[in-house]
Every structure is written in C-alpha cells, then in structure tokens.
Symmetry: C2
Amino acid sequence: MLGDDAYVCAMPTLYDYPFSGNGYKVRLVLRELGIAYEYRALDILKGHTREPWFLAKNPAGQIPVLELDDGACLSESSAILVHVARGTPLFPSDPLSQTRALQWMCFEQSNIDGVISRARFRRAFPDAIPTRPEEFAAWLSEGHRALAVLEGHLSQREFLVDDAFSIADIALYAYVHCADQGGFSLDTYPALRRWLQRVRSRPAHIAIDDVAG
Amino acid sequence: MLGDDAYVCAMPTLYDYPFSGNGYKVRLVLRELGIAYEYRALDILKGHTREPWFLAKNPAGQIPVLELDDGACLSESSAILVHVARGTPLFPSDPLSQTRALQWMCFEQSNIDGVISRARFRRAFPDAIPTRPEEFAAWLSEGHRALAVLEGHLSQREFLVDDAFSIADIALYAYVHCADQGGFSLDTYPALRRWLQRVRSRPAHIAIDDVAG
C-alpha cells in the first residue's frame, strides 16, 4: 500500500542505444518539452533489440522506441518527434511549414542518417561490420553533398523552418553535430557551425552522452 | 488573348524519374485524390537533376519534386504525400493514427527504399554503380527482414493503419510491389500479397509505368 506522500507518476519509457543519434533526437525533444522519462539503455551490438520482449514493442527490432503511459509503443525517431511535439511550438501549426519540417526530417533520414551516421558507426565499431575504403569514400562524397545543401539553406536563415527552432533542427542536429566522428570536417561550413551553436545554446540542450531521464 | 472557352487552370507539376518508386508514390496519391498534374520526366542517369534549373527547385538534386500552383516546390516523397493528403481520408485525422502513418513511411524509407529499391536499381542499371555480390547479399537479408515485419503486421489487418487505405499503404506499395525486380520473392508472404492485391484493386490505381498526368 502506498503511503501518503507516495504517488505513481506514469511517464514514458525511452528504449535507446546511448551511442545512437536517433535516440538522442528523442531525448532532445523530451527535454525541450520538459517531459520526464524513464531511460532503458540497450546494446544493439549484443542483440538486445532482437530479443522477443523488445520485438513485441517494435517488430522492426530498432531503437529508439518510446513507450507511452498507456503502453503504446512508438518507433521511428521522426514519427516520435512529431508525436510528442504536435501542438507545441516545436512543430509548426501552418500546414506548409509542417510539410517543410517533415521534408527536412526525411532529407536527414536518407542523406545524413544513412550516410554520416553510418560512417560514424563503422569507424567507432570497425569489427561489427567490415567496411571497405571505397564505402567510406562514397559516404564522404554523399555526406558532403548533404552538408553543402544544409550550408546553403542555413546561410540565409537562423533555423531550418520559418526561422524558429523546431523538431527539424533537433532531427538534423543529432548526427550533424558529431559528423567529425564519421570523418567529416565542418571547417568549410560556417553557417552550419553557427546553427549548431544556436541549437547547442538552448537552455534545455543536453549532450549526446547525457542519458538521464 | 484567350478565347471565351479557353481557361487557364494552374495545376501542380511533378518532376519525376519514371523508374522511381518514390515518384510513383506521388502519382498514386494524386490519382487517388483526383488532382490533375503536369508530368516532367527527368533522367537521373543523364544528370538532369544536377542541372542548375532543377537544383533551384530542390537543392538536394533529387526527384520527386512537386511544384505547386504558387511556385512552392515540395521534395521528399513522404512529405509530399502528407502535404497533398492532409485533410483527406488518405491521411487519418486522429493524432496517434497520423503518427502510425508517419512511422510506416519512415520504416519504408530506411528498410525498403534504402534496401529493396537499391537492389532493384543496381540490377536494372548494373553499369551505373558497380555492385559486389556481398552488397546484394546484405540487402537480401535486410530486405527480407523488413518484408517479414510487414507480413506480420498485415496478417492481422487489411491496411497498415486503422484498417483504412492511407498514404502509408501508398508509400509501402511503391517498392514492395516490384520487390521481385530487386531479387526478392514474395512467395512466402501471403498476407503481403493479399494486401498488394487490395491496393491494386482500388479504382484510381495506376501501374508504375503510367506517367500520364
């Protein structure tokens, strides 16, 4: 039986792999919105996300998963970001602006996550998946093309959509800020570096290794 | 000067590469919604999407791009689908259902488009980007894992979200229906094949090679 001063506060649970920028996106938006969460660290290299209990939460076997108070499990970081930010200033209300935010998040998924993040992972864990030099070279070329697109966009504005900080900035920040770990120098992207600094200077900002709920 | 019976009907223009499943997604949703469009076929293999006039429409240099009546250019197929389907029965109104639709579209982008579509492209144009057998083998394994996730989900329902046809079904159909061209047999996925047939039997359905506006 619970005492007088005990209370049960249902809060979402974030299943994450601490190295993952995709999980970091979710942590950043939860912090921005002041939503407390339980944190469950899993190790994808040890197969935790392929265990039956996790596949019941996300049959795709991928983190991040955000389990809501009612037991609903959300997967895919971009979808999670929209879900928790909907109706807040972090997701614009104007339809075209919403579309622009989604557009940047999709751009990130293919051109940053699929490229810069992959190079970062392969460099950090060279034994996990053997990688040939030609693969790194292809990612370097693709990744710099994506960074140049971002540089061009941000050279004319403060944030990605409507000059207001949004989940699009969170989604792009997650892997761009650690692009150097994938072998990408940001030296030639001054607007991009200024934007990183703007995102980093937000009061609710946390570093990628800060996994406290 | 326009005659009495002449009229100017501004309509969106779809910039597409006819082989692309991503462009096909946009054509499918426009047809479903009865939106007429101009069609501009570009050849990515000939560098059309890297020409300055196209980069002005999408700096990422990727099709599809949907240019709206007012000149706004939308890119990223998932974002385009949300934009044109918003407020229609093709995009659910319930927030959690909207999130589920986004979740499936993101799943597709990483696990189908990035895998099955890639294998299909490399098989169709073997000289464009040399591909090693090991790469095909890795895609085969990844792609079948994604198809098995879909099979599990669709074995219990008619459509991906809320048992109602939506842009999520359109987004997944585009590359799954031609998975065989990527070397993926769907023989062991009966629920998936029934779902493909349900999508195909919609009155507004068109084949991937039907590019008429």
